[in-house]
């Protein structure tokens, strides 16, 4: 019996259950197009996510996936990546998932620089739980939990990622699929932690930050030195009348697996199990205890 090698990333017989017009459709199709263009095969790719509308993403692909618990898209991605560095690992999720409940993992994953692409479908709202404020909700936004408007300053994911040490930081917009595909392509080519804040409007619960609202504001970064951290931070602070899209920052730094004493030389999943199988002299190990 032989299994047909699948080259198509789109899940067969399953359709995303996102609302018509939801930005997440845009990231899904742009991702599928990009990975297929890159010649990757579904069996070589693992997509991890947390919980939220956006986090159902892996189910609509034919790749391997981990639909983890809320906020925990990144830790399992690190586990996969270190157990088998040969796999391509992509993590996705929502703004609540990645900037709220999973914020700690976001910071520390950036700092670790694993060779993982992390794309956050930022709709500035909790979609799945019916429209509560999220960490990226706009100041004053009236939501189901903020009748007088959001009181807290929204998180700045670009500046946060820069500050945490991410080596690739970008923003894209699901309405501009070509640009989005270009950013995904570059993010996946990047050796290290590639973070993309993807503007992905929620048409059902966010009536403030709509496509119209963004269409008037977004522009593409040009003449921007992506190797200059001050320039990157400068552009990161821009949000309001003008919202920059593109790569804010990209540098080369050794990755998590480059530095780890095991993964720098070995692919753990391919190594034999136990002392003897690995040619480790147990007597020598025990000598420390004598």
């Amino acid at each position: 019996m032989v299994i047909q090698l699948n080259t198509r990333f789109k899940a067969q017989g399953k359709k995303p259950n996102w609302c018509p017009g939801c930005g997440d459709h845009g990231l899904l199709s742009a991702t599928i197009k990009t990975v297929e263009k890159k010649g990757l095969l579904p069996n070589e790719v693992v997509i991890t996510s947390g919980i939220g509308c956006s986090s159902s993403f892996p189910h609509w692909t034919s790749a391997y996936g981990i639909h983890a618990i809320h906020g925990r898209a990144l830790p399992p991605a690190i586990g996969v990546h270190m157990a088998n560095p040969e796999l391509t690992v992509i993590s996705v999720g929502g703004d609540g998932d990645g900037y709220g409940i999973g914020g700690n993992h976001f910071i520390h994953t950036a700092r670790r620089n694993p060779n993982i692409t992390y794309m956050v479908m930022n709709n500035q709202i909790y979609g799945l739980t019916l429209g509560q404020a999220s960490p990226s909700s706009q100041l004053g936004h009236i939501t189901t939990t903020t009748p007088e408007g959001v009181e807290e300053e929204p998180i700045n994911p670009i500046a946060l990622a820069l500050g945490a040490g991410a080596t690739f930081v970008a923003r894209a917009y699901t309405r501009d699929s070509k640009h989005l595909q270009m950013i995904i392509d570059k993010a996946m080519d990047h050796r290290g932690f590639a973070f993309v804040d993807v503007i992905s409007p929620c048409v059902t619960f966010n009536k403030l930050n709509t496509y119209e609202w963004f269409n008037k504001r977004v522009y593409k970064l040009e003449d921007h030195d992506t190797s200059d951290p001050s320039a990157a931070f400068g552009k990161a602070m821009e949000w309001g009348d003008k919202i920059p899209l593109g790569i804010f920052y990209q540098i080369d730094r050794p990755t998590l697996n480059d530095k780890n004493p095991v993964t720098r030389n070995k692919i753990p999943v391919k190594e034999p199990l136990g002392f003897n199988a690995q040619n480790i002299d147990m007597e020598e190990v025990f000598d420390e205890f004598r």
Partner: protein, 595 residues
Amino acid sequence: MSDKNSKLPIKRFSIRYGGSAGDGLQSTGRLIQKYFNKLGYSVFGFPGTQSTIRGGHIWQHIEFAVDKIFNFSQELDLLIALNTDTLLTHSKDLKDGAILIYDTSRVKLDNYQELLDSKNIKLVGGELFRYARDINKTSTVLAMTISTAAMLRLLGLSTDEFIDTIRKRFVNKEKIIEFNIQAVKKGVEFMNANLGTVFSCEIPEKKDTRDIVVNGNEAIALGAVASGLKFLGQYPITPASQIMMYLSKHSEKFGVVVKQAEDEIAAINMVIGASFAGVRAMTATSGPGISLKTEAIGYAAMTETPLVIVNSMRGGPSTGIPTKMEQSDLMSSIYASHGESPRVVLAPKSIEDAYYITIRAFNLADKYQLPVFILSDFGLSERTSNVTPFVEKKIERGLIWTGPTEKFPVFKRKQITENGVSPRAFPPTVGGEYILVGAEHDEFSNSLSGNRCGLPLSQEIHEKMTRKRFRKLDYLQEELREGEFYGEDNADHTIICWGSTYGAVKEAIDYLNTNTDNTWNMLSFTDIHPLPKRTLKLLERINHPIMFEVNFTGQFAGLLQMYFKYSVDDRIMLLGGEAPTASFISKEAMKWRNK
């Protein structure tokens, strides 16, 4: 000095060092145990630690004997006091006629003089820290070496092997070795000027031993490597940190990726990812960490992801008593997480058992695709003893799908089978692509949340899948160890215990059978959950059960009641945070003697 014939013969000897954090009690303690190991004695060490880096009061117990020691003794033959708190904490445990070596500048005897006199304690005072400073101005740790050498003189044991052990420990650090050699000399002189040699130690038959002196955490770490561990995700916490520290030190050599995570939640979720990718993976923590991992434990059970979780218990809720012992996280290990999630809980009874249970834990996790707890505690994780070198055991990875077979032509990650176990595929296996998902799912691991939730089909699937997940426990319990009796057959009284208290209870049973008119035995458990169904047969052999567990609510007794409607009315409880000893248990057990 007295002549050889008048010396006190000894078979077993208990020593306690008390001092401040930073005095080097634990590190020197290990050296001394290695020394006794070398001479062929059985050794047992136990630390009394605080959450203190400098100062405070900490202690180190060391005991050696010709016969195997199963637990440290409450009563002391020798107390070495480097601060006054040592007397506050330990003088009550001195045996009649025991010896006290103390630092005259730091230890104030005043309040204890009466007690010491009443027990006829032999006092050996000296300026131990000054002697140390005379050798090396900046070192206080040498006071430990000086008092140890004094002790060896007292025991009439040679200091040569002790110096060898020091040389080995500080290889290439000539200065340190030199200082220690001087300290040994000083210690011997000091004792010669005082009591000289008082004892005559029985010489063990075992010579040139290959035994190793390890603690429970090291045994677990070694067991994990022998099992093929490739990924450890952990966040530091007493008393589990040593597992990560030991494996980090040898990470490259052992081929184990050690990731210190940002928190316990990240640690276990990394482990889930690693296990999904096909390696054997483990996380280790204590109660507070388990609380944080709770949601992910349920996820692992739901997604049928094999993983090993070391839960080394400390005491009390919240921060509790972080460097002390309690067996109060049994229920949380069995039930932590919402919904109903199958898992296995194994509680090792000794250091050897910690190693071999770890291997069993990995095999059970893989074969039955669920989380397996190794339930240790401070009393086991941090005790040291010499054990026969560990050997490797068979590794069983369970049902792994690498391509179509007659039985499994199409890969269904959650295929419903007779024993509930489904095939597992690792990326990049072609045809094995699936999504691991915590929402209820069908045989292909397609999520039922969202649009399919609540449809008649989904109701049926949730029931089938719940039964499938729990069916694994029915099959698995056949493989588990049942409780083990020790002591007199058909005894008047049976002490029931579980996990690390095994050694203390065993010594108590021996004591009770020799020193009371009643007959005693014990029934000890290591495989706690799921409790094998045949356990009831064992319980029916008991005349009068007495439950001993180191917790307030009687958690294991509760399980016996719940699963077998078996009631244990009489209990021995210990809540001070210190690990149990045979004398405590026998004293308490005797209260039930006439029942």
